[in-house]
């Protein structure tokens, strides 16, 4: 299986950013068996990167590898749609909400 590289653009440490980061980490752990790399970019600190990538909205998730590039905008709460958007769909064991309930 090819390595997956994911980039997540967020703005500062807002609840929206935190929620996107948490959701992404959870999803990768559950679905990608460790063959992935997550890069988190704060546009307030690295505006030039956002400029180069022509990012408008945050949070924006980009699947850089494997090609083709995929983009998802939003705080990634809806895990099924995220997987669909990333084209990485695998059997789903449970959503974040359900998982959280067990905590």
């Amino acid at each position: 299986m090819n390595k997956v590289i994911l980039k997540l653009y967020v703005t500062g440490k807002t609840p929206k950013s935190e929620s996107a980061i948490t959701n992404l980490r959870y999803l990768c752990e559950k679905q990608l068996d460790g063959e992935y790399e997550i890069r988190i970019i704060d546009v307030l600190e690295r505006p030039q990167l956002a400029e180069n990538e022509k990012i408008i909205a945050t949070p924006t998730l980009i699947r850089e590898l494997p090609p083709p590039i995929r983009k998802i905008i939003g705080d990634l709460t809806d895990i099924e749609k995220v997987l669909l958007g990333l084209d990485l769909q695998r059997p789903i064991f449970g959503t974040i909400e359900e998982e959280n309930k067990h905590d």
């Binding site: 408008i56 924006t60 905008i73």
Partner: protein, 512 residues
């Protein structure tokens, strides 16, 4: 400090835009550090306005600008604006211009879920402003962003947030938005509700098969401005130019100096010639001798060493030059000496607003002392009634300002008697009106000339007969015993009747 002084100090600061004519109608420019919405239908020159806002800032005030494009990509914008001679590449290199490219990308197939903001866009704009020290930002165009993001509420909030952020950074922002009707809601998606400070509407109205561009300042919060629609044009080398009718105030100095019309008897009839800074309307049916009068007027100026400008819209250069040589005038020679400039154009070659701009430019370059337009009625073909009136006001006040004597001709639609539409529009604006009329007497067509009005001077009240020969116009005796020439129904009067009429009004009565 008293309250009123404080209030005065808090008065809204303006940013002079540098757009030709715009600062005049906005009474000083756009409110500084505020956002202004530019709304218009497709093709109403919104993007040009937005670009030029930055261009003039760089060219006239050394202020850098940020162009946030949500629609076209920067390369296209650069290419389009090159036609105005604006070299954006060069300004980019000098750090005076910076694009924030948020245009739609072909490979942009993002899945849009919910709960997002435009934090990245804002961060990029702020970054660009900080890097360049920009004073001006334009965002073009809002409406497309609504099409790309399904959550209208989020888009609205985010645009508002960007606009407020720009305000607090102290930059003056222009945002364009699309509207669907020339006279309807201000912009699509109710944009004006959240970018509310200032609204400017650009229109491109189809009226009688002709396009007319106008600009209207709908509101400038906390600041006064001129009301109503002002015509503007998009010229090839200057971009958008607002034609401020109201700039034209009746403030011209008036001159007592007389100049010769080139026809000595006509000078006598006018009480010694035309005034140096007057506008004269010459009205007549086709073939009455308008072009001849113009030729003599222009030739006399040029031959006595005054630069003279002739703008012809009815005849070609060759025709004009041949006619002139028929009357013993060598236009070619005068042009070689740099005393004469003849410009022949079809009225249809550009819009009336553009004609006005071109005329002004020619006048500025050539600096004539007298000029003639033959004929203004031909120009009427390319304009709406309103546009034509504005044109006449524009050109006549301009040449008066420059202290140029202007002779305009107007063609009447009927052979005998009659007035033309042109005259109704411009008769009150001109200082003098000369009528050339056909007079049919006893089965013979003769020509009559009269001075209908001459501001500030005594003038001949007779209707004089004139003839045209190889030397030009020869003015003869007044028509006696004929009445009804002006109405187009000349009637020969009996001697007894005319004697009786003479007795009714003593000479002294009307010699003021």
């Amino acid at each position: 400090m008293t309250e009123s002084v404080k209030a005065k100090n808090c008065k809204l600061e303006r940013l002079e835009t540098g757009l030709p004519g715009f600062d005049h109608i906005s009474l000083g420019g756009l409110p500084k550090a505020r956002t202004t919405l530019i709304s218009g239908t497709a093709g109403s020159a919104k993007t040009i306005f937005a670009c030029q806002f930055l261009v003039e800032g760089i060219k006239k005030f050394e202020q850098s600008g940020i162009f946030v494009t949500l629609e076209e990509n920067p390369e296209d914008i650069k290419k389009n604006m090159r036609s105005f001679g604006w070299d954006i590449d060069e300004w980019e290199k000098r750090g005076k211009w910076r694009f924030v490219d948020a245009s739609f990308q072909v490979d942009d197939s993002a899945t849009i879920l919910d709960n997002y903001d435009f934090g990245a866009l804002l961060a990029r704009i702020e970054h660009a402003v900080r890097k360049t020290g920009a004073k001006r930002v334009c965002i073009d165009s809002l409406s497309t962003v609504f099409g790309r993001f399904p959550h209208q509420e989020i888009v609205r909030n985010e645009i508002f947030r960007i606009s407020s952020a720009l305000k607090s950074m102290g930059v003056t922002t222009v945002i364009t938005a699309e509207r669907t009707n020339e006279y309807g809601e201000i912009a699509r998606y109710g944009v004006e509700e959240f970018v509310t400070d200032n609204v400017i509407v650009l229109r491109n109205i189809l009226e009688g098969e002709k396009r007319r561009r106008t600009i209207e300042i709908l509101k400038l919060r906390g600041a006064s401005h001129q009301k109503g629609e002002y015509p503007f044009t998009v010229s090839e080398d200057e971009g958008l130019i607002v034609i401020p009718i109201s700039q034209i105030e009746l403030k011209q100095r008036s001159s007592d100096i007389r100049i010769s019309s080139g026809i000595s008897e006509l000078d006598n009839m006018c009480g010694g010639g035309f005034f140096r800074d007057s506008v004269i309307l010459l009205s007549g049916a086709t073939g009455t001798g308008k072009t001849l009068t113009v030729t003599q007027f222009i030739a006399h100026g040029a031959m006595s060493g005054e630069r003279s400008l002739l703008l012809a819209f009815e005849e070609s250069r060759d025709q004009l030059f041949r006619n002139a040589s028929g009357w013993g005038i060598d236009f070619e020679d005068l042009e070689r000496k740099g005393l004469l400039k003849v410009i022949c154009d079809y009225p249809e070659c550009r819009s009336l607003e553009d004609h006005l701009i071109v005329m002004k430019r020619e006048i500025e370059e050539f600096q004539p002392k007298r000029m003639a337009v033959d004929s203004v009625s031909a120009l009427e073909r390319v304009a709406t009634i309103k546009g034509f009136r504005e044109f006449i006001i524009g050109i006549s006040s301009y040449i008066k300002h420059q202290e140029i004597a202007g002779l305009f001709t107007a063609t009447t639609p009927t052979l005998v008697g009659g007035t033309s539409a042109t005259e109704t529009h411009i008769s009150t604006l001109t200082d003098s009106i000369i009528l050339l009329r056909y007079v049919e007497i006893l089965g013979e067509m003769r020509r009559g000339l009269m001075i209908l009005k001459m501001r500030g001077s005594r003038h001949d009240k007779d209707i004089r007969e004139f003839s045209i020969d190889h030397k030009g116009m020869g003015i003869g005796k007044p028509f006696r015993n004929v009445s009804g020439i002006l109405t187009g129904n000349p009637m020969q009067l009996e001697n007894a009747e005319s004697d009786r009429l003479k007795g009714l009004f003593k000479e002294e009565v009307y010699r003021i």
